[in-house]
């Protein structure tokens, strides 16, 4: 049986993104298993804490010295074959996680993509109008998309 309390579902619950049926299922789960409510509260608190952190500007060269998470993984992965597999695996995972945490906490906004969905729609429809019917392709661009910028 599928565990209804997975990370995605809990996150979606907190963000109000579950559909009515999923909401009902999840609410019933929380009702029947109090421990889940504690886990959800902990998750919510963690998210709030992380989001409340002020953006930090890294010192010059900080990112270059750290490397990307993947680079850390690759380097340490090479070491793994030279020593005890299980201990190295734990070490690599820990370091990779730590590196990722440092990047995620200290430099939020670095290498983050913020897609402009409305602009994507405009470009897509313009291409559609060029290769298909111009009226049905472009008319939607005159109406609000609800997608922001």
């Amino acid at each position: 049986m599928t565990d209804l309390f997975d990370d995605d579902r809990a996150s979606a619950w907190l963000d109000g993104e579950l559909n009515p049926e999923e909401q009902a299922e999840f609410a019933a789960l929380l009702e029947s298993e109090p421990g889940r409510r504690d886990a959800l509260a902990e998750l919510d608190a963690t998210r709030s804490l992380v989001r409340s952190l002020a953006p930090a500007v890294p010192e010059a060269g900080f990112l270059a010295s750290l490397g990307t998470a993947d680079e850390v993984v690759v380097d340490l992965n090479a070491r793994r074959s030279q020593s005890n597999r299980r201990r190295s695996t734990a070490l690599v995972a820990g370091l990779a996680a730590a590196a990722a945490l440092v990047v995620a906490i200290l430099v939020p906004g670095v290498n983050r993509a913020r897609p402009a969905l409305a602009a994507d729609v405009q470009v897509h429809q313009a291409g559609l109008a060029a290769s298909g019917d111009p009226v049905s392709g472009l008319a939607p661009l005159g109406a609000p998309t609800g997608l922001g910028r």
Partner: protein, 317 residues
């Protein structure tokens, strides 16, 4: 009277045969904007999670170009501009891509006499896939203008419709439109798609075009003859907090995405490896699943998954 055309789907050609009536209808619809002038109102209707929506917009064809929404959107000979404040943004800088597959490559087409729309006689083209109607087009017999276009989802329910609800002053064009210049920042067709690009996706969506956008972003356009999907790719992990409200959470296999329903179809956004991907498409939910699934990284390493797991709380929303 129904005239069924026995057009059977096969391998999707590039630079496909465009002698079938549906492709000819689209070609004529484009030519009609170039050849005729008119003033009209179109109604958009679509469904999303909030229910049904309708919008009406003025459209004017003059001097070989098309003005939508009181001139906020302008098109001429395939090129398109959007006016924001006092500035024109070039959305598209060239005309039809000859590599787009023909409709008959995947779909069956039936032709029949249509209803009168805004007082004009029409012919209706019914596009089917697996015996399911996916689109109906009503075309003005005299000018070739597309007077109504309806889309249907996997269940057969209507999803999007564009229809003329008024039309007047139809006559041959007189002059030549004075258009804005094409901006240097317009999407530019790439000579070759980025390495590693999928040549096809899902059920018969063929790569027909690749473009370089500002800020090193790319757009890959896929078409199955009737529906199109644009795949926009940007470097960097998706900042979920930057997304507009109103979307719904959807999952395709291991891909967690957010989907928005709009008057143009669906907009999906998700993170793929180190990139953020947006898909804008009028394709059905089933086709969307095929497209997204094919775009999943083929072999995400255990280490990447570890890092993703640890960092995922910071990208929740």
């Amino acid at each position: 009277m129904v005239v069924a055309l026995a057009v059977v789907g096969g391998a999707l050609p590039s630079g496909a045969d465009r002698t079938n009536p549906a492709d000819r209808a689209l070609d004529r619809a484009r030519e009609a904007i170039h050849d005729y002038e008119f003033r009209g109102t179109v109604e958009l209707a679509w469904h999303d999670t909030q229910g049904r929506h309708r919008e009406t917009l003025p459209v004017v064809a003059v001097d070989g170009g098309l003005r939508v929404a009181d001139g906020r959107v302008l098109q001429h000979n395939g090129r398109s501009w959007l006016r924001t404040d006092q500035r024109w943004t070039t959305l598209w800088s060239d005309s039809r891509d000859p590599k787009a597959p023909g409709i008959s490559a995947k779909y069956d087409i039936a032709r029949r006499r249509g209803p009168r729309i805004v007082g004009r006689t029409t012919e209706v083209l019914v596009i089917r896939h697996d015996r399911r109607v996916v689109e109906r087009m009503a075309v003005d017999r005299e000018t070739g203008m597309m007077l109504r276009r309806e889309r249907f989802d996997d269940s057969g329910a209507p999803t999007n419709r564009v229809e003329f609800i008024s039309l007047e002053g139809v006559h041959r064009r007189h002059g030549v439109l004075d258009v804005p210049r094409v901006a240097d920042t317009a999407p530019v067709r790439m000579a070759e798609p980025p390495s590693g690009s999928h040549r096809s996706l899902g059920d018969g969506f063929v790569l027909v075009d690749s473009r370089r956008l500002p800020r090193q972003e790319t757009q890959l356009r896929y078409s199955d003859g009737v529906f199109e999907a644009s795949i926009f790719r940007r470097a960097g992990a998706l900042d979920w907090d930057s997304l507009p409200s109103g979307g719904t959470r959807v999952t395709f296999g291991s891909v967690r995405a957010r989907r928005y329903r709009t008057s143009v179809g669906s907009v999906l956004v998700w993170q793929s490896g180190q990139d953020t991907v947006t898909c804008v498409t009028d394709a059905s939910g089933r086709d969307q699943a095929g497209i997204v699934t094919d775009l999943m990284p083929s072999s995400e390493s255990g280490w990447s998954r570890t890092v993703r797991f640890v960092t995922s709380p910071f990208s929740w929303k």
